[in-house]
Amino acid sequence: MIRRIFLLLALILIAAPASWATDNAPFITVASTTSTKNSGLYDYLLPHFTSETGIEVRVLAVGTGQAIRVAKSGDADVLLVHHKKSELAFVAGGYGVERFDVMYNDFVIVGPKTDPAAIKGITDVSVALNQIASSGTPFTSRGDDSGTHKKELSLWAEAGIDVVSQSGAWYRETGSGMGATLNTASGMNAYALTDRSTWLKFANKGDLAILVEGDERMFNPYGIILVNPERHAHIKAELGQRFVDWIISAPAQALINAYTINGVQAFFASAAAS
């Protein structure tokens, strides 16, 4: 009886994961961001790569800060995130091979249509942030060390506002992903900084709308880096390199440009090769 149970257990462990089929196919793990994942870009883009090469791409969608830490421990083969400074530091530290531009879009400030801080249409993001601060209207921040959070903090710093001292007052740090933060903003009619692609795809907009856009400081570039196989021997360098080469190739860049959400182009290809 007991032997039979153990036999059954062994069978389950061996057979069941294989029956999920994917384990036998070659695959790479890409540490990336919630914004690209939630935009639906990967669901659209990756099947093209997989059908061309037979390589499955497993996307781990977390904040940029966490994605970088995952890649540093060697738990991912490729890093695709959006905070150029951290990406360059990642490569300089010997964790990555080389950074390539992939695409860009931009950040926008969303807020309640009633707009108590009267920022609608302002094109200087520092002025807009100062008005939000002086009006004391709630602003929801990611607060999670993600690329968007890092960007937001640098925008506050440029605007000369110390948000740390306001945390818990009008400045509300959710400590969660972009969607969760937008849900919170929608619930309390607060302002928030978001990347355009997540906003386009976000379904629970409530009373929120885009109020500030177009400042060149809200540029949002994405880069791709192969994790350094010299640091972690198990990194699938060859498969990962094929993915990097593919995504910066002209056909893949054209696919990125062709991706739309509700008829609006979500990302703009920017690889040097194309």
């Binding site: 257990l9 069941a16 999920w20 497993r58 795809k201 976000f202």
Partner: protein, 234 residues
């Protein structure tokens, strides 16, 4: 209210439409949680029974510990398993992070104390009732152990179901060690969290309704089987 009616609508269309993605997610959820329950039962049932039957130094401490660990926070379990399985961790060479196996390990750790603690209570009560009788047949704790587990099997099913309920409902541990990767480690609860993060609250709630229905179905099936067995074997 619109969200609720939309949620029920999306739950119905998911179930009736036999959505292949949903079927895959449910399949993985069941595989992960049921396997974890199996392992947790194999460890937890004898462990709980042993703590109930044998007297040894530190028994009270272990009893309190088992009871306390029933409330293990899933995120903490997830984090610990994550650090152990990460390439930078002690078991990194196995390459198990972000796989269903990692999720099974985390859930096993999470629910073993639940099954062990509840088993301990059941067996201790039975032992109090039958100790004299069993000893008169010359059966000490060691020989009584399988008898008591068999005798308490109907109550122990509830202990195992409690473990399953915990495993299938938690999101914290599987999110961290699994990573919610499409077609690989996405289960019901992480799929719900993902839909919430996309702001699609109706679909998220729809998935939640499906998850509850699934749980009701499994518990109902176990109840029927148990009732039939009780009538047959008393």
């Amino acid at each position: 209210m619109t969200d609720f009616s939309a949620a029920i609508g999306s739950a119905l269309s998911l179930v009736i439409g036999f959505d292949p993605v949903l079927v895959e997610i449910i399949g993985l959820s069941l595989y992960v949680s049921l396997t974890a329950v199996l392992f947790a039962a194999i460890i937890g049932l004898p462990l709980g029974a042993a703590v109930a039957l044998f007297s040894f130094p530190g028994r009270t401490v272990i009893t309190v510990l088992l009871n306390a660990l029933m409330g293990l926070p899933p995120v903490v379990v997830g984090l610990v398993v994550y650090l152990l399985l990460s390439r930078a961790g002690p078991f990194g060479v196995l390459g198990l992070l972000f796989s269903p196996t990692a999720m099974i390990i985390a859930q096993t750790v999470l629910i073993t104390p639940i099954i062990a603690a509840l088993t301990r209570q059941v067996i201790e009560d039975l032992w109090a009732e039958y100790e004299d009788l069993l000893r008169s047949f010359g059966a000490g704790p060691l020989r009584a152990l399988p008898t008591l587990i068999w005798d308490g099997r109907f109550s122990l099913v509830t202990a195992v179901l409690a473990g399953f309920g915990r495993a299938s409902a938690e999101v914290g541990a599987v999110m961290i060690v699994g990573g919610n990767i499409d077609h690989v480690t996405r289960v019901m609860t992480t799929a719900i969290a993902l839909e919430v993060s996309k702001g699609d609250l109706a679909l998220a709630l729809g998935l939640g309704i499906v998850l509850i229905l699934l749980s009701v179905g499994i518990n109902g099936a176990v109840f029927v089987v148990r009732r039939m067995a009780e009538q047959r074997y008393g």
